[in-house]
């Protein structure tokens, strides 16, 4: 198996008594777009901060391009482009000032090509830019010097759909060019659109790390039963069934795995309507969050 681009081994970060993340194991392979999901406070940003060596794990190791991020982060960072969740740029600087400064730290790279594509005026001071244009500039700076790995914390937050789509296109092109992307997001349709694989973090622990294909193949059905007689709730109760809605003659269930027992239970009633649908991706992700 090829060497992982990002490899976290048993990473724990303690903030006093509170655990930020706990025993996180994660690996991102070359040339994949890896989505990192989780509810607020689950540990996404803590994990990213550990990867970028902004904070140091209390335990475990973080390697990027095979380099330990605590002892050899400079070599690794030469190949990493980073887009923080809330990009804080120097308000009095123009985009060109940012490009010149950070370009100087990265072998005189510049962002003019990407700025043109994003229709971004580099001669305007950051304080006069709209949220969208600030994000465009931050994205262009993250891609400065054509890094091999992009680490992005919610890259499309607060952007309009057109710009979101442009960013997805850029990421797909970047991947086609051989790049690897680690992206955290709250936006599930976005994850579905761009990611090859996802990791889900909950309460500081990784609860899933799967390909999008296997997530889509998860067997979760929504079963809606309408009857002419009164439904006994116990008929539908099982460890793999979750009751979403219940009234005397109507019940909606979320069924994990085999739906036959549920359908058989429904068949004992005089049915007015029976509907079985696949759960959407959002429902599947929410399963992990719970």
């Amino acid at each position: 198996m090829a060497q992982a681009i990002i490899k976290l081994t048993n990473v724990t970060k303690l903030y006093g008594r509170h655990r930020g993340i706990d025993g996180v194991n994660l690996s991102v392979q070359a040339n994949e777009i890896f989505g990192f999901l989780g509810p607020n406070g689950a540990g996404k940003t803590t994990t990213i901060r550990c990867i970028m060596d902004f904070i140091r794990p209390s335990q475990g190791s973080v390697k990027v391009f095979g380099k330990d991020m605590h002892t050899n982060s400079v070599q690794a960072k030469a190949k990493i482009g980073f887009l923080p969740a809330d990009s804080m740029l120097y308000p009095k600087w123009t985009g060109q000032d940012h490009s010149d400064y950070y370009g100087n730290l990265r072998s005189n790279a510049n962002i003019s090509e990407l700025a043109n594509r994003l229709d971004l005026d580099l001669n305007v001071q950051v304080r006069h830019l709209s949220t969208g244009n600030k994000q465009k500039l931050a994205l262009a700076l993250a891609m400065l010097g054509k890094p091999d790995l992009l680490i992005m914390d919610e890259p499309t937050k607060g952007l309009d759909p057109l710009l979101q789509q442009e960013i997805y296109n850029i990421l797909h092109e970047y991947k086609r060019g051989g790049g690897t992307v680690f992206v955290s997001s709250h936006n599930l349709p976005e994850v579905e659109k761009i990611c090859d694989r996802v990791g889900v973090i909950k309460d500081g622990t990784i609860v899933a790390s799967e390909t999008m294909q296997s997530i889509r193949a998860k067997s979760i059905h929504i079963v809606t039963v309408s009857t002419t007689n009164k439904i006994a709730l116990d008929d539908f109760k099982s460890p793999k069934t979750e009751i979403i809605h219940y009234s005397e003659k109507h019940i909606i269930l979320k069924v994990h795995g085999n739906i036959n027992p549920t359908v058989q239970a429904a068949s004992r009633y005089k049915l007015k309507d029976l509907e079985v649908t696949h759960a959407n991706l959002e429902d599947i992700f929410l399963e992990y969050y719970r």
């Binding site: 970028m52 140091r56 960072k77 030469a78 980073f82 923080p84 804080m88 940012h98 100087n104």
Partner: protein
Amino acid sequence: MTSAMIWKEVKDRRVSLVAYTVAGMGLVLMYVALYPSLQGQAATYAKLMESLPKGFAEAFGVDANFLATLEGYIASEMFSFMWPLLAIFYMVSRAGGAIAGEIEKGTIGTLLSQPVTRSSIYWAKVYAAIISLLIFTFATILTTIPFALLFKLKVDTLNYFTLTIVGLLFGLAVYGFAIMLSSLSSDKTKVYGITGGLLFSMYVADVVSALTQNLSWLKYTSIFYYFDAPAALVHGHINNLSILLFIVSAIVFLIIGRVIFTKRDISI
């Protein structure tokens, strides 16, 4: 790479450098311009000073014959109080903004993601502050010479260079302490508050030690005791202990600051 970071720091903070330097030069010009009219009343002032309690003049760094020379006058009026105050404000604001301020605003995030060590980021900020301190100190102290010549006053040129050396080391010691706190904090107001509070306590200790005989030992705890502008400017004298203390404390604080900055967690 480091030169780009140093240049960025100098360029970004040029407005405050110009503001503090112009303010300092303006004060020097004002005191030099006032001196010719006060010079004639030197004997009257000397009598007045002698009538005051012994420790009173000492507490505020004023000699009975302070009006006899421009150096005595300007050392007492400008370089014993106003200049250290300006230098402290400037160096503490530089240090607070350099690290804690950038963490507070989040602007340090993009810099930390670049292929540069934290150590080089830290030293770039320190070198830039030293360059600014050199400009501020040279401009605000040595400018007395041309201003004095403008008013046809006699000056002891060499003593101004002596004071410049003492002033530089004083500023560096203050900056060292403040940047150490800045490395530790994510809130620049804490840097201002703690450094300001400590320096104010030292100033009070210096004044109290001169006014109260049995508390005279307190002067040794104050940085202002070691910054002896009249000794440097009037007598061209540098106290070796002061120089050693400023150098050692600056080096120790700068190194501690570097260790803290490279080891700490930065949550941005």
